[in-house]
């Protein structure tokens, strides 16, 4: 079995499972946020149970519209606070957490070998820790609140074997954009994507999270990386729980894969996903002249300290071009504090970038940093769909933190290596 099959077999108390099997899996952790939580709470109440299955295994994070951008949002937040109190479950309120997927990992809610479902499509991010994690809807979350179980079809797996060496300013984001371009927006529907190879072994947790985060953009059920020393180091001091032995989470040498894709990153340049689908990917060098109005660095894909360091390296001592607005949103309170300590926030403000409090922000177009008709944003986030960041007549290009920072300086989508010359 591969790692995903091993986790699903263990969660459904079976000795083995195969792709296509439908299993009833025990859920180790459930996450809901301010936009999916309220419908889940309403649905849970309709089921007629007083208490959720296990108050230690559910978490609420307020992140999509924080601080409340409208009275309606404030009402939803209030509803979630009340539910968390009634059920005695942990809630990361405004100022105490940040973007759900970052908070869940920083606070030790994501452990190797566990089954995690979240009412957010980017829940697949947690696969970076060797967990089976997938996004669900609100009603399904209510079902998990009630039963602690979920039915899942065991997915076919695709193995991505990544080798080579990243060029300067080429990042895991460029790799995942390249892969999405190659595989397509529906090329991995229902599948598991397992990342392995020397590049992955050397990669930080932040990079692994960026890769797994965007597997849903090719339709995948989950993305996953085998846990290792890097995983263990990240988790130190973040959880008191005993970790499952990592050997039990290694894919067997004879594990089956529907497909194995070999990718050598040495030849890879900076990539960009053009409007308005995530698989419309081109190397930045072939893009031509694309002027931008907004540059956004943040989101559950690329709002981590490693991303901010990279952006700061490029923005240091320079100014965001006139006519461009640059937004920087650290993914969590912890990220923000670390950036402050390292002097990154000062670099951003000196460069005339606006640093906002930890939130999903412009990524989903429900809050700050929206786009007007005819405007263009280059963004480190994960989706460039029509209307995603505001006007249905605005354009969103997805790129790495390095590319977005470089573009903020020049006012056009720019390969960061161009600025080095």
């Amino acid at each position: 079995m591969n790692i995903t099959e091993k986790i699903l077999a263990s969660a459904s108390r079976k000795s083995s499972v195969s792709p296509g099997d439908i299993v009833d899996a025990n859920v180790d952790m459930l996450m809901v946020h301010d936009l999916t939580g309220p419908l889940a709470v309403e649905a849970f109440k309709k089921i007629g149970l007083k208490k959720i299955w296990n108050n230690q295994k559910a978490v609420v994070v307020l992140d999509h519209q924080v601080p409340a951008e409208s009275v309606k949002a404030a009402e939803l937040h209030k509803m979630m606070r009340l539910f968390a109190k009634e059920q005695n479950i942990h809630i990361y309120d405004v100022g105490k957490g940040g973007i759900c997927h970052q908070v869940m990992t920083e606070k030790g809610h994501v452990l190797p070998g566990t089954v995690i479902v979240g009412a957010d499509s980017h829940t697949c991010t947690y696969g970076a820790f060797g967990a089976f994690a997938t996004g669900i809807g609100s009603t399904e979350a209510a079902g998990v609140f009630a039963t602690g179980k979920i039915w899942l079809k065991v997915p076919e797996a695709t193995k991505i074997n990544a080798t080579g060496e990243f060029k300067k300013y080429v990042t895991p984001k460029d790799l995942i954009l390249h892969l999405i371009g190659k595989i397509g927006a529906d090329g991995a529907t229902y599948k598991s994507i397992e990342f392995c190879g020397p590049i992955i072994q050397e990669m930080s947790m932040a990079g692994r999270m960026t890769l797994c985060n965007m597997t849903v953009e090719m339709g995948a059920k989950n993305g996953i990386v085998e846990p290792d020393e890097t995983t263990k180091r990240f988790l130190e001091g973040r959880t008191e729980k005993t970790l499952k032995p990592f050997e039990s989470l290694e894919s067997d040498p004879d594990a089956t894969y529907e497909k194995i894709i070999d990718v050598n990153v040495s030849g890879l340049g900076s990539q960009v996903a053009c409007p308005s689908s995530v698989d419309n990917v081109k190397p930045v060098s072939e893009l031509g002249n694309v002027q931008v109005d907004q540059a956004f660095i943040g989101s559950c894909t690329n709002g981590r300290i490693e991303d901010l360091r990279l952006a700061a390296e490029i923005l240091k001592g320079k100014k965001v071009k006139d006519g461009v607005r640059a937004l920087v949103i650290p993914a969590s309170k912890e990220t923000y504090a670390q950036a402050l300590k390292e002097g990154l926030i000062e670099i951003f403000t000196d460069a005339d970038a606006l640093v906002c409090g930890s939130t999903c922000g412009p990524c989903l177009g429900g809050h700050i940093g929206l786009l007007a008709q005819g405007e263009t944003c280059v963004s480190t986030s994960n989706r460039n769909f029509i209307g995603r960041m505001g006007s249905t007549e605005a354009n969103v290009y997805l790129a790495s933190p390095a590319t977005v920072a470089a573009s903020a300086l020049t006012g056009r989508i720019t390969d960061p290596r161009e600025l080095e010359v």
Partner: protein, 165 residues
């Protein structure tokens, strides 16, 4: 269990941001969500759908965000069923869980025009284009999923199951 309605066609990769833009996620009443269904592609969709329609999509229908407000908006706008070449998995599960029938139907796009009268029989797996006198057979949904649809969604289904215990 059957659904009937006139067809409204869309292309490939219809994402949940165009089905229901993020700015409306603060709305909680499904009837309010319905007023904005498909706003990203056709702001007149709610008027067209009110009389009961079947949405015909291409590949990867419902990709993107896990927002359940997307299938809810469609259901309350008057959509009786969504037929598509393929679905994104979270949308597929969400639709079933809120009682909006969704069926994977290969080839449906090419043989359907806007305004065709369609009928879907969930028990037999037969999809009929009445206007064109053409029928398709689709893989039947597993019985436990049909049961959720017949019950009107996962919540009713769970109430029933938990009460039995």
């Amino acid at each position: 269990m059957k659904a009937t309605g006139t067809a409204i066609k869309f292309g490939d990769n219809v994402d949940t941001d165009v089905i229901l833009p993020g700015k409306y996620l603060v709305l909680i009443d499904p009837k309010d969500l319905a007023k904005h269904a498909m706003e990203g592609l056709d702001p007149r969709f709610p008027d067209k759908a009110a009389k009961g329609v079947i949405v015909v999509g291409g590949k990867n229908f419902g990709c993107g965000s896990s927002r359940e407000q997307a299938p809810l908006a469609l259901k309350y706008a008057g959509v009786q069923c969504v037929l598509a070449e393929s679905f994104a998995r979270i949308f597929f599960r969400n639709a079933i869980n809120i009682g909006l029938p969704v069926i994977e139907c290969k080839g449906i796009s090419a043989y359907t025009d806007n305004g065709d009268k369609l009928e879907v029989d969930f028990e037999t797996g037969k999809v009929e284009n009445i206007s064109k006198k053409q029928s398709f057979h689709v893989a039947k949904l597993p019985p436990f999923i049909v049961e959720i649809l017949v019950d009107g969604g996962l919540i009713e289904n769970l109430r029933k199951r938990l009460n039995k215990k």
